[in-house]
């Protein structure tokens, strides 16, 4: 069964969640297609000013 498997993964969505999945899989040895409908990755987090509870800059 393993032989028929494909060592690549498609991640749908380039926000914080999709980026983290893509990085983890790529670093573990899988080819990743990261698909994002917008022109850049980052998602809603890129629109935030600071993040709670540390008040770190979201960017």
């Amino acid at each position: 069964m393993t032989k028929d498997m494909i060592g690549s993964v498609m991640v749908v969505g380039g926000g914080i969640a999709g980026m983290q999945s893509a990085l983890d899989l790529a670093d573990a040895g899988y080819y990743v297609y990261l698909v994002e409908k917008g022109p850049s990755i980052g998602g809603v987090m890129a629109q935030l000013d600071k993040t709670f509870p540390t008040n770190d800059c979201a960017m």
Partner: protein, 910 residues
């Protein structure tokens, strides 16, 4: 747009005649039809908005094509369908903020000073339309009073269909109020109107407390029903009813609607197409024990699509989803990836420095202020400089390629980059050096943007002089730089998981399924941890059944070596090469392992309050679970049962919420109502925190007739037993009168307290927070690992959490660990401390001061007894260098003579 050609210079945007609404700034500003969303966008490539572009809609204009210096504009690009063969899919499509436009009582559509929280986020942002100055949209006036309304588009079945809690709005509203006060000063009056304050995450309760008691944010428990704009002033009059029934009126300058998360309609139809089951709130349906699996095998889910959640939880789930996909595909790992070809490194040791200097214009970011050609001319005149030039964007692919060519063509052996911040861009430029066959440490970066052009906008001449000074200092330093070596270390391919509860088991199972031999150490005599005491999950699954399956899975897995009744008695070594001592009944064995996962869990609090221990009818939540699991027939005969929440949680000495107790009590309240519908069931609470779709349980409990009575921390209920009668007295929050309730059972929802394990913390050099939980690497971006390389964290050792979140966290820790194990070899940094042992006085200061235990005394050889630094442990912080009284320790790449040279060069400027 031809992305391979675009250099993001911005010439197209500057001349584009078409202005459109800027969605990145939540509609508060305009952008052009050709645009990048924001300056830090990745990829930094311009894009044409096809619905807005004059050329694409009307066939004329074409300005951007004329202005583009690299001919990147291509109006003929068409959407293409691409077919990909993949082994697995992860869905991380996110959410959309709820649009309050349809709710006329909030005036959002009709009044500019009613904004959504996302719009307010842009108003607070330095890169937003007001540059971070909070100005109200109608007239740009500084607001004096701002109100936040919670639960807009959440917990609301009347005005919208979103019955769930969006989980994040309480915290972001508090954050916005605190930051707004920081921006505008303490005079700014910030009021948050809420139903229940839900600050159930790590460090959230303290954040709430500080907002209230230090920042002076006001919290008003009320749902505002009417907003009336006061003519012409732009002000808004709010009418609301307080808990005691009093009608109040107050005037605010601005109203922020804390909008919830919602799954967009297009995602619902995509899910239907994919055959994926959704929850009542349209989130992806998952099981408690399979928190990232969709109903379709091979398709996994992460982020807000799985349920409304904050960033750390999204990051955890995403790593967990990667682990789940990797478990499936471990047999074909590395079959679709390519090894990077390495360019052999040139030996430049002893060669005369030939320095190349690159000055980045950063579009207009630097060149708009600094006279870049003058800096280039100046740099070229300095000693050892072979070549100097400027680049529009030094980080662009074509600029990188040309740097590689220039290094070869001019025979450069040292590079200076004057550009932005090394924090984000140094690795990129160093890779370019590696690609050119130069040791990556023969490089110095100086920041002439953030610390120069951005802060000295009004002084272009002085900014140019400062850029010259910075460049001169960098050149002087790099001239003395030598190639540095990175020590190569093998990564032991064995894993160690400490703790055999739900989290430890899930982590070990994932590591084993990904192909790694895993040792699972549990100090008790059985697996399962606290889950052994639990009845069922919030979704109704039987915990004993699922737990038995997990235990069986662990025991039957050949790759998992189980060590029961075993504790860690020592840990030596470092990332990739740990040597731990396992002690079991007086026997010790050593274990070599590459990584460690800490999953040591937490414990239930034993209450001293509410007469616990004085009467069998006063029990804890876990005691009640035991009765339910045993099917205790006495439960059916109860006339009255009462739950008291926050027993030991959210107290001054334990300033955190235990996260699971509201849901747990409500589940059990429902259970009791189902056993006997005539039973009077009460829940005494401070705030109900059934976040996400757990809110549906709260609703169900109310429908079944469970009575919820709120109390405040300074007026807690009193539990009494007199003449065999068990009574609880509580002041009702609506009537404001004490009520005496006679019941047969009182369940105390006790806190979850940490197993503060200082020994383990010392073994792995990791920190514990003031509440006693382990501190993760980064609250947002590194929730499943420690700052110590090779050591990972999951489950309740991190913070109290329900089973689904523990399992996701455990899988996430496994995924993060595999990213290290998969490398098989790691390289230490080149910028580390090195001891000149001939000068070492063996005083031991370095050994005692190092936070990473990198220095030690050499055991043998000519310099036995003198200090030596383990390159694998050294982080290059320089503490030992600064504290060495003999001047015997050098920090490679930052040696004293290099730093002094820089200072002398700076001195020339003053």
């Amino acid at each position: 747009m031809d992305e391979s050609k675009c250099i993001a210079c911005g010439a197209c945007t500057e001349k584009c005649p078409k202005k459109v609404v800027d969605t990145y700034n939540a509609g508060l500003a305009k952008r052009k039809a050709i645009y990048v969303e924001y300056p830090q966008a990745v990829p930094l490539k311009y894009r044409i908005d096809p619905e807005e572009c004059i050329y694409l809609t009307k066939g004329k204009c074409g300005t951007c094509k004329k202005k583009c210096p690299v001919d990147a504009i291509d109006y003929d690009q068409k959407p293409e369908n691409v077919t990909l063969d993949v082994g697995s899919v992860i869905l991380a499509p996110g959410f959309e903020p709820f649009s309050p436009a349809g709710l006329d009582n909030y005036q959002y559509a009709s009044h500019p000073n009613v904004v959504t929280a996302l719009e307010f986020e842009r108003l607070l942002s330095a890169s937003g339309p007001t540059h971070g100055h909070v100005a109200r949209p109608s007239d740009g006036k500084d607001p004096k009073k701002i109100a936040w309304f919670q639960c807009v588009g959440s917990r609301d079945m009347n005005r919208c269909d979103n019955a769930y809690c969006s989980s994040v709005c309480c915290m972001y509203a508090i954050k916005e109020a605190v930051i707004a006060k920081e921006h505008a000063g303490d005079d700014l009056d910030c009021s948050i109107f809420f139903m229940d304050m839900r600050t159930h995450g790590k460090e959230f309760e303290r954040f709430y407390d500080n907002a209230k008691n230090k920042s002076g944010v006001k919290f008003i428990r009320s749902r505002v029903h009417t907003i009336t704009p006061l003519q012409d002033t732009g002000d808004l009059e709010l009418r609301y009813v307080t808990e005691d029934g009093a009608l109040k009126t107050d005037v605010f300058d601005m109203v922020v609607l804390s909008v919830g998360m919602q799954i967009p309609a297009e995602l619902v139809s995509l899910s239907n197409k994919l055959g994926i089951n959704l929850t009542p709130g349209n989130f992806c349906d998952t099981g408690t024990f399979t928190p990232v699996e969709t109903s379709r095998p091979g398709i996994f889910v992460s982020g807000a699509f799985q349920g409304p959640k904050d960033i750390p939880q999204a990051v955890v789930d995403s790593s967990a989803a990667s682990a789940a996909a990797a478990e499936l595909l471990s047999g074909v790992r590395n079959t679709r990836t390519k090894e990077k070809e390495l360019v052999p490194e040139m030996n430049v040791l002893g060669d005369r420095p030939k320095i190349g200097v690159f000055i980045c214009q950063c579009g207009i970011n630097i060149a708009g202020v600094v006279n870049v050609p003058k800096v280039v001319e100046y740099a070229a005149s300095l000693p050892y400089v072979e070549f100097a030039t400027d680049k529009l964007f030094a980080c662009s692919q074509d600029a990188q390629d040309s740097m590689v060519d220039l290094i070869a063509e001019k025979g450069l052996n040292r590079i200076v980059m004057a550009a932005c911040t090394p924090k984000t861009h140094e690795p990129l430029f160093q890779e370019t050096l590696t690609n050119a066959g130069l040791n990556k440490y023969l490089f110095e970066m100086t920041n002439i943007r953030n610390q120069n052009s951005w802060v000295h906008k009004n002084n272009p001449e002085l900014a140019t002089e400062k850029a010259k000074d910075l460049v001169r200092m960098a050149i002087a330093k790099v001239a003395m730089q030598e190639p540095l070596k990175e020590t190569e270390l093998d990564v032991n391919q064995t894993a160690l998981v400490i703790g055999g509860g739900i989290a430890g088991m899930a982590s070990a199972s994932s590591l084993a399924k990904q192909g790694y031999t895993t040792h699972l150490v549990e100090k008790g005599s059985r697996l399962g941890g606290q889950a052994n005491n639990l009845f069922h999950t919030a979704k109704g699954e039987s915990i004993p059944e699922k737990l038995a399956e997990m235990v069986k899975d662990i025991e039957s897995n050949d790759r998992i070596k189980l060590h029961l009744n075993t504790e860690l008695s020592n840990v030596d070594g470092f990332v990739g090469n740990f040597v731990s001592t396992l002690s079991s009944n007086g026997n010790e064995e050593t274990l070599d392992h590459g990584i460690a996962v800490v999953a040591t869990g937490a414990s239930p609090y034993t209450p001293s309050e509410y007469s616990y221990g004085s009467d069998d009818r006063i029990i804890t939540s876990l005691d009640l679970d035991k009765k339910l699991m045993a099917g205790d027939p006495a439960l059916k005969k109860l006339n009255g049962a009462l739950f008291i929440q926050c027993v030991g949680s959210r107290e001054p000495e334990r300033m955190y919420c235990s996260r699971v107790c509201c849901t747990h009590s409500i589940e059990n309240a429902i259970e009791l109502k189902e056993i006997n519908p005539d039973m009077n069931v009460y829940v005494l609470y401070r705030d109900i925190r059934t976040y996400g779709e757990k809110e549906l349980l709260y609703k169900k409990a109310r429908q079944l007739g469970v009575i919820f009575i709120r109390f405040s921390i300074d007026n807690k209920p009193v539990v009494k037993t007199e003449n065999g009668k068990l009574t609880v007295t509580v002041t009702d929050h609506v009537l404001q009168l004490p009520m005496e309730l006679e019941v047969d059972l009182v369940t105390l929802a006790t806190a979850i307290i940490p197993n503060t394990d200082e020994k383990l913390a010392n073994f792995f050099k990791v920190a514990i927070n003031q509440d006693g939980f382990f501190i993760e690497k980064h609250a947002k971006l590194g929730p499943s690992e420690f700052p110590t390389d090779g050591v990972y964290l999951c489950g309740m050792a991190h913070y109290p959490k329900p089973i689904d979140e523990s399992i996701a966290h455990a899988k996430a820790a496994a995924a993060r660990a595999v990213t290290l194990l998969a490398r098989q070899k790691i390289f230490s940094s080149g910028t580390i401390a090195q001891v000149d042992q001939a000068n070492c006085a063996a005083c031991g200061v370095c050994v005692s001061i190092c936070p990473y235990s990198a220095p030690s005394y050499a055991e043998k050889g000519r310099f036995a007894g003198k200090a030596e630094v383990n390159p694998a442990l050294c982080k290059g912080c320089g503490l030992c260098v600064a504290s060495c009284r003999s001047g015997a320790i050098h920090l490679k790449g930052f040696d004293t003579d290099q730093i002094l040279t820089q200072i002398f060069e700076m001195d020339e400027a003053v």
